[in-house]
Symmetry: C2
Subunit: 297 residues, 2 copies
C-alpha cells in the first residue's frame, strides 16, 4: 500500500491534517518595517529555525502603521497560526498585541512594553562594554563617544555600558560624557571635531553606529590623524558596505541578529509546547575586528 502511495507521489494535504489536529504548522511573522536594516537578519534567523521543523511562516509587513498591523493580525488569527513573532525595527519597547490574542507570541528586537510578554533583545550595554574592553586591551585610555539619537533607549544603554567598563578602571569618557546627535556621517564628522577640540590627544572614538563611524574616520584623516595608529575607531551594527568600504575597514559590533531570530523561534516553540518563558531575553553581541582599531604601539 505504502509502495503504491509513493508511486503516485502522494503528499498529505496539510489543510485536512490541521483540520483534525487543531494545529496548522504555520506561524505569523509580523514586522514593522521590512525595509529597515535590522528586521531582515532577524527574519533570516527565524526562517532558518523554522526550516528544520515543518512549520512555515506567513510574512506580514505593517510598515509602521498600527491599522495595517491590526488587519494583518486579524488575517493571521483567522488562518489559525500556531504562534506569532513580532519583529521590530528599532530598540524601543512597543505596545503589546494585547490579551485578546490568544496565541503564543514572541517580540524580537523591539520588546513588548508588557514585561509578562516574551521578548528577545540585543545586549546594548554589553556592546558598549565589549567595545571599551577591546580598546583598553589595545592600550587606549582617552576614549571619546559619538552617540546617535538620544531618543532611542539603546543609544543610552550602549553609552552606559561603555561608561561602566571605563569606570571599573577609574577612567571616564573624553569630555566626561558622550556626545548625542543623529545617525549620519555629518554628525560623525562634527562630533569628531568636537572631541578633538576637547582633547587633541584622544586615542580612540566609539561610535553609535557605522555610519557615524565612517564620518569619524573621514574627519580624523582630514585632521591629519592616522587611523588606527593615532586614533582607533569602533562602530556598531556591522552594516553592509559601510563596514567594509570605509578605509580602513571598520572594527564594529555585530549584534548577532540571526541568532536573535533563532532564539525568538525557539522561545515561540517552547511557548507552544507549554514551556512559556516570559520576560526579556538578551542576546550577546560580538566585536568584529578590522582595520580601524589596533594596538597603540
Amino acid at each position: 500500500v505504502r509502495a503504491a502511495a509513493a508511486e503516485l507521489h502522494f503528499v498529505p494535504n496539510p489543510m485536512a491534517q490541521s483540520l483534525h489536529q487543531h494545529r496548522t504548522g504555520t506561524v505569523g511573522l509580523l514586522t514593522n518595517d521590512l525595509s529597515g536594516r535590522f528586521a531582515i537578519p532577524i527574519m533570516i534567523g527565524a526562517e532558518d529555525a523554522f526550516g528544520v521543523g515543518q512549520v512555515s511562516a506567513f510574512l506580514c509587513d505593517s510598515r509602521g502603521d498600527a491599522l495595517r498591523e491590526q488587519h494583518h493580525l486579524r488575517v493571521l488569527l483567522a488562518r489559525r497560526v500556531d504562534g506569532l513573532i513580532v519583529v521590530g525595527d528599532n530598540t524601543n519597547p512597543r505596545p503589546s498585541l494585547g490579551e485578546e490574542v490568544n496565541v503564543p507570541t514572541v517580540y524580537a528586537y523591539s520588546p513588548s512594553s508588557d514585561p509578562d510578554d516574551i521578548s528577545v533583545v540585543s545586549d546594548n550595554a554589553g556592546a558598549g562594554r565589549i567595545a571599551v574592553e577591546h580598546l583598553l586591551a589595545n592600550g587606549r585610555t582617552r576614549i571619546g563617544y559619538i552617540a546617535g539619537d538620544i531618543a532611542l533607549i539603546a543609544t543610552g544603554q550602549r553609552v552606559d555600558g561603555a561608561k561602566a567598563a571605563l569606570g571599573e578602571r577609574g577612567l571616564e569618557l573624553v569630555g566626561g560624557k558622550a556626545l548625542f546627535g543623529n545617525w549620519s556621517e555629518e554628525w560623525g564628522r562634527t562630533g569628531t571635531a568636537a572631541l578633538l577640540a576637547a582633547d587633541p590627544g584622544l586615542d580612540a572614538i566609539l561610535c553609535g553606529n557605522d555610519v557615524i563611524a565612517r564620518g569619524a574616520v573621514d574627519a580624523l584623516k582630514a585632521a591629519g590623524k592616522e587611523v588606527p595608529r593615532e586614533v582607533s575607531v569602533v562602530g556598531h551594527d556591522n552594516t553592509d558596505h559601510y563596514a567594509t568600504e570605509t578605509r580602513p575597514q571598520l572594527s564594529t559590533i555585530d549584534m548577532n541578529l540571526k541568532e536573535l531570530g533563532r532564539l525568538a523561534v525557539q522561545l515561540l516553540f517552547d511557548s507552544i509546547d507549554g514551556e512559556r518563558r516570559p520576560g526579556l531575553h538578551v542576546v550577546g553581541t560580538r566585536l568584529i575586528q578590522r582595520g580601524s582599531s589596533a594596538p597603540k604601539y
Copy 2:
C-alpha cells in the same frame, strides 16, 4: 442567526474552506537571498499587492542553495499554495523550476531561462538611456562610464542603453567604451582616475551603481574637480545611505522595485485566473535627481 455569529466573534476556518474550494488563498514567496539589497523592496511590493486581496504569503529563503530551494518548493507544494513568486537577487537568468511544478509561477528580477515562463525584470537598457538623456539635457557631452562586474548581463545592458542614447546624438563614451570592474568604491576611484587621464575635460560620469558613484565623487573631489559643476555624476540603485550620505547627494536611477513586485503579483493573479501572460515583462526605471548632477553652466 448572523447576529449570533457576530456576537460570538465567529471567524470561518480557512482550512475547512480551502478543503472544499481547492484553493488555499496562499502563495509562496521563494527568494534566493533575503540579505541581498534587491529582494527586499520587491517583496515589500509583492506583500503590498497581496494585502489588498485576501491571500497570504509564505516566506522561504533558499540562501542561494539549490537543495534548500528544492526543499522549500516541496513544502510549499505540499501546502497547496495557489501560486509561486520566485524573487532573485541578481539580474542574470536562473533555471526554471521545471514542468513538474504544476502551479502558476512568476519570476521576479532574475528571469527564468525558459522564455515560456512568466518573468518580470528591470529595464536596464532604459536606465542607461535615461541617465544619458538627463546628462545631455544638462549640457554634458563628454561622458565616461564606470561599469560594474561584466559577468552580470545587466551591466552590459545598462552600458548598451547609454551608448545607444549617445549614438543618436552622434556621440560616444569617453575613451570609446565603458570601463568594467566590480561594485566597490575603490573601483569607482581608480575608474575615475582612468577617465580623467583619458579625457581631462570630461564633464560627466555614469556609474554602474551608487557604491561606485560614491568612489567616483570622492576621487573627483580629491582631483580638484567640483561636483556637480565641473563633472556631474549619476549612480544606479538609489541605495540607502549611499545615495543620501554622499556629499553632494547622488543623482541616481531608481529601479521601482516595489512596482516590480506588485506587477509580479498581478501577473500571478492573472495566471491563476487563467489569463497567463508568458514572457519577459519589463518595469521602467526613473531618475532621482539630487546634488551630484546639474546643468553645465
